[in-house]
């Protein structure tokens, strides 16, 4: 895909992306604080640092478009419009969670918001997204499916099988790689010779493009183009969004494997203050508007956490519900 110099997205989109990014950051800060202080116990994979790509994807997709993401997916969920109470309740396994305590951080789905699957199995969501895109094609719907995954997932067989199948069937699929330079705790230089993950698309004869995934404007432009390509029946695109993960693989990760200078450099390029400064200097938002967006995000997160922390756990009697649609004679 040609990278065309493009004008920035409309002001309303840019403001929306900043709102989403601040909400994602506030959510990640609050979950991290709650777990590290012992306020609550949860498995959680922080996305701090990767907000720009998720905000751009959320802003570029239509409400009717679908998304498949991963265990590190809370930023993607917020971008696609999953309510915070639902997210926190899933993470803490509360009865008010749509999954009623049977999903957890790694398995959040919200069909109303178009989030059809979050998988804890690296790479496994990509073939499922192929099936969702096939469904859209068979229904002749103008729906697009986006699937996000990390750099490590592109070393799985599932990625390559799915990319090939999406190409062969010319499916309305956008493959969004959030390249944060580490597959769990191993730097990508040790796990692939490929210099750009975007180049992997060339093997399957569809476009692959690398963007600065910390720049919401750039990511939005490229993702929008890929989404509309898919919608127009022109097939899949791989978008590699370069980013960084500030808090390691999961809460409690000591990050000894990340050079201090690399982390410091990434934090200096934190996408949120960077974008804030741009919106201010380009006159898209005033200082008052930005402060208001940030305060709203903090309040929204705090209210949602309070609701969820106070909510009960599911009752033990609900265990066997939904193992089967038809459990006649099934083992117990």
């Amino acid at each position: 895909m040609e990278m065309r110099p493009s004008s920035p997205p409309p002001a309303a989109v840019r403001r929306r992306m900043y709102e989403l990014m601040t909400l994602m950051k506030a959510a990640d800060d609050r979950m991290t604080k709650g777990i590290t202080t012992g306020e609550f116990i949860a498995v959680y994979f922080p996305h701090r640092g990767q907000e720009a790509t998720a905000a751009a994807l959320g802003a570029a997709l239509r409400p009717t478009d679908q998304l498949v993401t991963t265990y590190r997916g809370v930023h993607d969920h917020i971008g696609k419009g999953v309510p915070l109470v639902d997210l926190f309740a899933e993470i803490l396994g509360k009865d008010i969670a749509p999954g009623r305590g049977k999903a957890g951080t790694m398995h959040i789905a919200s069909p109303q918001a178009g989030v059809m699957l979050s998988t804890g199995i690296v790479g496994a969501g990509i073939p499922v997204a192929v099936g969702l895109a096939l469904a859209a094609q068979l229904e002749k719907a103008d729906r697009v499916v986006a699937v996000t995954f990390g750099d490590g997932a592109t070393n799985t067989g599932a990625f390559h099988e799915a990319a090939n199948m999406a190409a062969v069937w010319n499916l309305p699929l956008v493959l969004v790689c959030q390249n944060n330079l580490y597959g769990e705790k191993t730097p990508i230089g040790m796990t692939m010779k490929t210099k750009q993950i975007a180049d992997r698309a060339r093997a399957y004869e569809f476009p692959g493009v690398r963007v600065n995934g910390n720049d919401p404007d750039e990511a939005y432009a490229t993702l929008s183009e890929a989404i509309e390509r898919a919608r127009a029946g022109e097939g899949p695109t791989l978008v590699e969004c370069m980013t960084f993960r500030f808090r390691g693989h999961s809460i409690g990760d000591d990050m000894v494997y990340i050079p201090k200078e690399q982390l410091a450099d990434a934090e200096a390029k934190d996408p949120i203050p960077t974008y804030r400064a741009r919106l201010l200097s380009s006159g898209v938002c005033t200082e008052e508007e930005l402060s208001s967006i940030e305060a709203t995000a903090l309040n929204t997160v705090e209210e949602a956490v309070k609701t969820v922390v106070d909510a009960p756990l599911p009752s033990p009697e609900s265990l066997m519900a939904h193992v089967y649609a038809n459990p006649d004679k099934a083992p117990v």
Partner: protein, 337 residues
């Protein structure tokens, strides 16, 4: 219901044909399934010509993507019937069965599901020399997956009725076809019909011993039953038809009557389905049993190439007869094995 004599292969084809005709949300995907190939042995012959290549869809040799695509389409309300040519190939794609298809309903508390049917085949017992990677009987693995159902038909009519149930069941189903049985003939209802899962068939009634089996065990057990009948032993034969769920009420009712049970399968005897059956029979009927439950299954060895060795792996008719004798001859001797 009008019936017609046909092979199991033809019965499977007819079930797929009728499912495609009944519901446009049904589609088939797999390797070599479209015409002119029409499947590796012809189960899907003619279906892509009749329903188009969109609905009877050839795929790359990509098992993980085949089942992943089936799961994804299922999330959107399609009823995908995915073919994995042989059960030996399923491990390549097991993640999609174990971690996605079988879990979606549970993890979303019923908001999403993937009611896929995975058609696959075992070549075990055919004596074709397909060897260690193309002749296995692995159904017991899948009995450890909550959320999944497992069907193993042994007759043409059961193949048709159970496949129809599998496709329209709202739970994911592993449907295991038996290569050695695809050519068997029998009377099959011509119109669409379904056989409920968890409903065993009492194939033959008797009073002395219950022999429980499924799949390729069925013809073998019936051959053994003829021998036993000649000796004056009145045996009852049960074909389970589905392994998940298992029709325990029918099994227990029969064993309560005969007080003796033999379980026969091509899966390994060690940790095979027979272990679960024997344990349940013993738990429920211990005080009524006249002898320990006997199990006949495959030896714990990879499947060899030579027909003389393959015959040694899988249970023989003589082994079934001998197991029945053990249950008939008293407790002490029955404990030997």
């Amino acid at each position: 219901m009008q019936e017609r004599e046909m092979t199991m292969l033809e019965a499977l084809n007819l079930a797929l044909d009728q499912a495609l005709a009944r519901d446009e949300r049904v589609f088939l995907l797999g390797e070599d399934i479209a015409d002119p190939a029409g499947g590796i042995v012809g189960v899907t012959q003619g279906l892509s010509t009749k329903y188009g290549h969109d609905r009877v869809r050839d795929t790359p040799i990509s098992e993980a993507a085949i089942l992943g695509a089936a799961v994804g389409a299922g999330l959107q309300g399609f009823r995908a019937v995915a073919e994995i040519m042989f059960i030996d190939l399923i491990p390549i794609a097991l993640d999609q069965i174990l971690n996605h298809a079988a879990k979606m309903r549970f993890m979303t508390s019923g908001r999403l599901s993937s009611p896929i049917t995975i058609r696959t085949a075992t070549l075990g017992g055919m004596g074709m020399g397909t060897g260690a990677t193309h002749g296995q009987t692995l159904e017991a693995w899948f009995m450890h997956i909550p959320g999944l159902k497992v069907a193993v038909p042994a007759t043409p009519a059961d193949a048709k009725g159970l496949l129809t149930t599998a496709i329209f069941d709202d739970d994911p189903v592993l449907f295991i076809e038996t290569g050695a049985l695809l050519g068997t003939r029998g009377a099959v209802p011509v119109d669409e019909f379904s056989i409920p899962f968890g409903q065993a068939e009492v194939v033959r009634s008797g009073n002395d011993v219950t022999i429980i089996t499924y799949g390729l065990g069925r013809p073998q057990v019936l051959a053994a039953a003829d021998t036993l009948a000649g000796e004056g032993v009145s045996d009852e034969v049960i074909d389970l038809r589905t392994l998940l769920p298992i029709d325990f009420p029918t099994v227990l009712e029969s064993v309560a009557k005969t007080r003796r049970a033999v379980i026969v399968h091509y899966a390994t005897r060690f940790a095979g389905p027979g272990a679960e059956l024997a344990a349940t029979i013993t738990e429920e009927l211990f005080s009524q049993l006249a002898a320990p439950v006997a199990r006949v299954g495959a030896k714990f060895a990879p499947i060899p190439q030579a027909s003389s060795l393959e015959a040694e792996v899988f249970p023989s008719v003589a082994a079934v007869v001998e197991a029945a004798h053990r249950t008939m001859s008293g407790t002490a001797e029955a404990l030997v094995r």
